[in-house]
């Protein structure tokens, strides 16, 4: 019984949040990897792109709520995703037209693109504060839990409860659906294959008659879809705070680099590696140890390796170690 209680506690505090957070990071890292694979630069504006996507989803959510449109028990923001994605596609294509295209024509070095993307990051951040303001926004409506801790306890008779939030379930389902769709697109369709070809060998792709403008357009479209969904899901799960997306940039990049930049599978694996490291290292294991160890061994402290305030240090340390030891990441992406 104690063992079961310990396992449920671990599932409740590490497994479920880790999977949800990992899915969000994976979707974010996929966006970074698409831009890196096709346009060949590290897009520092990606965090704000996610934030802007979430913002549009919230604006449309308010619109739908005021019109009395609801898809309960699902949160209304899910419905807002579709118009939000369209807005973000337009936004990214406009920024590409007015910023990145110029540097592409100049055949600028990747670092120049990187600096340009940093500028866009601040610009996007400003636009977001201008439109929705710097304050927190609550976005979850509809049913809050799929599985409540109390129901779980009554049902199983265990001391520990297992709760699954609606937002967590939606996150995982959406992430799986998006990833399957993305891989289908890249592996099976002619356009998707031309994207991979362009990423593999740009010159040869041009010699084969692949239109670079179209490839770039598809890349931004994919980025908009991935970033909007990742950003909105993160906001749904943790509450939308405009400035947290700037901090989210670090774990997102760490995920993409740990998995191997330019490798879609790597981005997904990297997302979960970072998410579980962060959640595990900042979790207080006191409760679990109490169940497993004899009473006399009960720890006095929380048995927490790092306070949650330092969670970003975890991704940063992993990032540095990977860059030193294994710069191409787990799935041998392109080295930075």
């Amino acid at each position: 019984m104690d063992l079961l209680n310990a396992l449920v506690a671990l599932a409740n505090y590490i497994l479920v949040p880790g999977i949800a957070y990992g899915s969000q990071l994976a979707l974010g890292a996929l966006g970074v990897t698409v831009v890196y694979g096709i346009l060949r630069f590290s897009n520092f504006a990606h965090g704000e792109t996610m934030s802007a996507g979430a913002m549009f989803a919230i604006l449309f959510m308010w619109l739908f709520q005021s019109l009395g449109i609801s898809i309960a028990p699902l949160p209304t923001i899910v419905l807002g995703l579709i118009p939000a994605i369209i807005c973000m596609i337009i936004y990214l294509l406009v920024t590409d037209r007015f910023v990145y295209r110029y540097y592409r024509e100049q055949k600028a070095k990747p670092v120049i693109f990187l600096v340009a993307s940093t500028g866009l990051m601040f610009l996007t951040n400003g636009i977001i504060r201008f439109i929705i303001g710097p304050d927190d926004q609550r976005v979850s409506d509809g049913a809050r839990f799929v599985l409540k801790a109390r129901e779980f306890k009554q049902f199983t008779g265990l001391n520990e409860g297992l709760a699954i939030k609606t937002s967590q379930l939606i996150t995982v389902v959406a992430a799986v659906a998006i990833v399957v769709a993305l891989f289908w697109f890249l592996e099976k369709t002619k356009s998707g294959k031309s994207m991979r070809a362009y990423s593999d060998n740009e010159n040869l792709a041009l010699l084969s008659g692949i239109n670079p403008d179209r490839v770039v357009m598809i890349a931004w479209t994919l980025t908009a879809i991935l970033a909007t969904i990742a950003g909105a899901l993160y906001g749904l799960d943790k509450g939308y705070k405009p400035f947290t997306y700037l901090q989210l940039l670090l774990p997102v990049f760490a995920s993409a680099i740990v998995g191997g930049l330019g490798s879609p599978i790597g981005a997904i694996v990297g997302g979960f590696v970072i998410a579980f490291s962060e959640v595990t290292i900042t979790y207080a294991f006191k409760k679990v140890i109490k169940y497993l160890a004899p009473d006399a061994w009960a720890p006095e402290g929380l048995v927490q390796l790092l306070s949650t305030d330092y969670k970003f240090a975890v991704s940063f340390v992993i990032l540095v170690v990977v860059l030193i030891v294994m710069p191409t990441g787990i799935f041998r992406g392109k080295s930075l």
Binding site: K193, S194, R196, A197, D200, L204, L206, L207, S208, G209
Partner: protein
């Protein structure tokens, strides 16, 4: 006038110094033309000039009597030219089959016949069709590269040192395949380091020195020319 000809080409890369000086290379349908010469003679540059990869200051490129001097390389692909670069000439992470499919990217019609033709020419590719091209040996990779180029159904096939880095046995085989391709009526223009073997199969040979035409004749005549032999073919 040849089917494809780069006439009196003068030019270099970007705004740099001229590499080619009044250089002329051409090839007929169904024939093999080979460009040979010492290192730094501008062999590859001449080839790239014909394909529109550098700006010519003087001279012109014509295909089938049509002036294409101003066209981009991509536009020349649509005119029926296919180019196999010396290195990085496959999509390494994609399967052999997808490499060939990408070669046929601009085609809207059914490509299964062309695919069968390529597999007929290079049977090993059919065996490895589901393997990523990056995992193949050098010789096999060259076959993928040539196969990819053939998938566009070109009228002219341009090969930049197709036998670089492959063993002599594989080289002989590649040359045999190239002759077979030429027999189907495709014009082949290639740059070769292995001058002797290349001139052996060439209908026409161009010996370039410092970006200029030094000798131009049939492959057999060049091989027989004592001056060419002494200076460029090692006696």
């Amino acid at each position: 006038m040849s089917y494809l000809i780069g006439q009196n080409m003068t030019g270099g890369y970007g705004r740099g110094a001229d590499i080619l000086h009044d250089c002329t290379v051409g090839v007929e349908k169904g024939e093999i033309a080979v460009i040979v010469g010492p290192n730094g003679a501008g062999k590859s540059t001449a080839m790239k000039a014909v394909f529109g990869m550098l700006n010519l200051r003087e001279g012109s490129v014509m295909i089938d009597g049509e002036d294409i001097t101003g066209l981009s390389p991509q536009a020349r692909v649509r005119k029926g030219m296919a180019f196999v670069p010396q290195t990085e000439n496959v999509f390494p992470s994609m399967t052999v089959e997808d490499n060939l499919r990408m070669g046929a990217f601009v085609r809207e019609d059914d490509i299964t016949d062309s695919m069968e033709q390529v597999f007929g020419l290079f049977p090993i590719l059919e065996e490895k069709r589901l393997q990523p091209a990056g995992e193949l040996s050098g010789g096999q990779r060259q076959q993928v590269a040539v196969g990819r180029a053939l998938m566009t159904q070109p009228k002219v096939l341009m090969l930049d040192e197709p036998t670089a880095g492959v063993s002599p046995i594989v080289m002989d085989e590649l040359f045999d395949r190239i002759i077979e391709v030429a027999r189907t009526g495709i014009a082949i223009l290639m740059v070769e380091q292995n001058a002797k073997q290349a001139l052996n199969i060439a209908d026409k040979g161009y010996v370039l020195v410092q970006g200029r035409n030094r000798f131009t004749d049939t492959g057999a005549a060049l091989l027989a020319d004592p001056e060419v032999r002494k200076a460029f073919l090692g006696g």
